[in-house]
């Protein structure tokens, strides 16, 4: 089936299977910043923005993105460099495999609730797991980004 949506500000037209997942389509376009982790919508590695909402693209049928604005870490790096800078400067990462998901999740928070308290910030990021850092530098990165806006 034919699918048209906007990916990181650019129009995309793709021929997809009805059961194809959004993460497969995005990665198939060479944008491998969106990672595949648990495959069951728990770890948050594959988080992308559909409109202003963070979704697990491993559970999201590509067909549902028809006509939507979709953003990944690669696009946010261009559109919102302060977000990437906050993660780099606060060292909000170690292995980096969850970092694009953390970045996208943080971008959603800035859209939904830019005045989030620290407790709200932690709750918001809880859908994206990190096994390396113990989360403290990720919290610091998201806080620095919200404060920079």
């Amino acid at each position: 089936m034919k699918l048209s949506f906007t990916l990181n500000g650019e129009p995309v037209a793709a021929d997809v299977a009805p059961d194809e997942l959004l993460v497969e389509v995005i990665r198939g376009l060479g944008l491998t910043g969106t990672k595949q982790g648990c495959g069951v919508g728990v770890c948050g590695l594959c988080t992308v923005l559909v409109g202003d909402r963070p979704v697990s693209s491993c559970l999201y049928l590509a067909a549902c993105a028809e006509g939507e604005q979709v953003w990944t870490a690669e696009g946010l790096a261009r559109a919102e460099p302060a977000l990437i800078r906050a993660f780099a400067e606060q060292e909000g990462m170690q292995c980096g495999i969850c970092t694009p998901g953390q970045v996208v999740t943080a971008a959603a928070l800035a859209r939904e609730h830019p005045a989030a308290t620290d407790a709200e910030l932690r709750h918001h990021q809880a859908g994206t797991l990190c096994r390396c850092t113990g989360y403290q530098t990720i919290f610091a990165a998201v806080r620095a980004y919200l404060d920079s806006r």
């Binding site: 969106t34 982790g37 870490a73 292995c95 113990g134 403290q136």
Partner: protein
Amino acid sequence: MASAAGPGGEIRPDAYRKASGQARYVADLSLPGMLHAAVVRSPLPHARITGVDASAALAVPGVAGVFTAADVTPRPYGRAVRDVPVLAAGRVRFTGERVAAVVAGTRRAAAAAAALVEVSYEELPAVLTAAEAITPEAPPVHDAPWDYRGAAVSAADGRNLQSRVVHGSAAEASAALGRADHVVDRVYTTPSGHQGYLEPQACLAAAGPGRVRIWATNKSPYRLRGQLAECLGLDPAAVEVEPVPLGGDFGGKGSPMDIPLCAELSRLTGQPVKLVLSYGEDLTATNPRHPARIRVQAGCDRDGRLIALSVRALLNGGAYAGFKPLATAGLHGIEDAALAYDIPAVFIESLIAYTHTVPRGHMRSPGSPQANFAVESALDELAAAAGLDPVSFRQRNLARAGGPGGHGREWAEARGSQTLAAAVARAGQQPAAVPPGWRHGTGVAVYAREAPPIRGTSVRLEPGPGDTVRVGVPIPETGTGNHAVVRNLLAAELGISPGQVEVVQLATSELPADPGVGGSRVTVGMAAALIRAAQAWRDRAGDGPVLAGTGADGTDQADGADGTPAVVSYCAQAATVAVDPGTGQVAVLDLTTAVDVGRIVSPRAHQMQIDGGAVMGYGFACLEDLLEEDGQLMAANLGEFKIPSAADIPPLRTVLVTGGQGVTSAGVKPVGELANVPVAAAVANAVAAATGCRIRDLPVTAERVYWALRGEAPAAQVQRP
């Protein structure tokens, strides 16, 4: 917020790449003509394979082939013990074992076809726990395990043994226990757990005539090269392991895992082949942590001085021993149980059994979380028996500066006493906000770990563009920030800014050899190699500017035996918990970690080793259990196998006990495998302090506490180890 300028404050070199989605991991790589593989796995713990019907799978469009043991090398592989078949031949030995592999043009087609491969089995009696496995009646998992290359056992050993390690004299420990005024004799168990790296295991292999190139989620490229060459019958020089970052390791990415299979599939199809596991495969069929049953007997005199300790550990090693690197096939954390203390008579026995369950491997400080939970819980029980509080009891028994180190070893220094005192003082500063009606208490635990011997790491320095130096290293960036550590160390050695150093991982043909990442060896080994390389570089630059050097290699001391006493790091933790007597729910209100440190090269990366370790320890203490049932791991996705999220973690506090004497002139101490270890005992000790109930089986769940508060065992007993 620390400044972004200056050594240690620089932004890590991969930070922008990772945050912007530009960093490429194995699963992100493609080669022209690349095919995708999927694995057909056994649904039974022990069975004879009576037939494989691939006709339906071969009819799936895009399938290039379906392969079984008959198609691949019959040579088993492994890290020390070579007992792992590339594909199961004749019989399967665990639920999840590789039976066949499908190669197709797309990952979807490969997975769809794999589901259509019909394997027929004749089920055989299985042995699922270590305790059953070592009885004479147990079915043998392997007919002659001592015949495998690198086997750690002999035909004279008992049935189904992978590893037996003994230290000290059981008779002496037993005699000393007989003289003790107070004795405890308790059994503790820990479950199967998983490293929980979030990047699934993956491999891309490109085989050509008589050679193969490998990109893999493996942290020891040079060892992998040797393992692959041996298994595939190639010259090591014909195996090139290419540089690629890893998406987390924690001990789980040191094994050859599915890499020999991927290489064989590339050879068989004549195309590059990529195999990326599903996370369910990672959880159930790779190399998770050994579950353990540990009996601790400890005795002290009337003054609370420990006089004897006996630790007998029985661990489930699963169907193959090949994912463990030590020649003994043991876990050094078991051998090093109670290393923090000066105890006159210590006996330690570690038995690891073959069973028809998933093969076990290394996980962050292998063996230590299990042994530390058992010993540090038992010490609290002994302190109570002796009428002493747990902190002063430990202070009486920690190894002291000037005396022998733990287990009678020679140490440069022993700073356990200060470290424990620092943890207790800091934890006491925070009054706990206890919910009404809940009980609360604080527990402590201590861990000591020796820095590993330095051995066989190499680096290469070359002039880079402009005023820069390029340093080639043999190790992947596993996530710890090890490349930033190299950058900062070299900059300090050469007196230049970190921004003038570029760090690159080189392919395995570029440097002599390296033992890889693991065993807390990277910072100390790299420091030793960099000091030598920087010296050679400065010598060549002579009186000219330091950046006029023309290239230099540095290798650390290959034997590591420079005669200096071992460097040891202490870690002490204090956990404050609140327990709801109605439900058994445990809330960790505060987790304070004190670490005995030397020079810190990358402060934030160092702190993340502590925070990340403490959080991983919290998962081990309270959440994580792969839940074995009839030989199958039931927690087969990250929803069932719950690792700590941002919403789960307790407040974390750290005290750095500075001024420690580190390794080499760089003065560094390892930090990566400390803070994950004592958490579980600290939490269990805190629950006991809060409620009077002792939890001896991890994790400390609400259900266990609920039943303990009522003086009963949980309704369903778990199978372990």
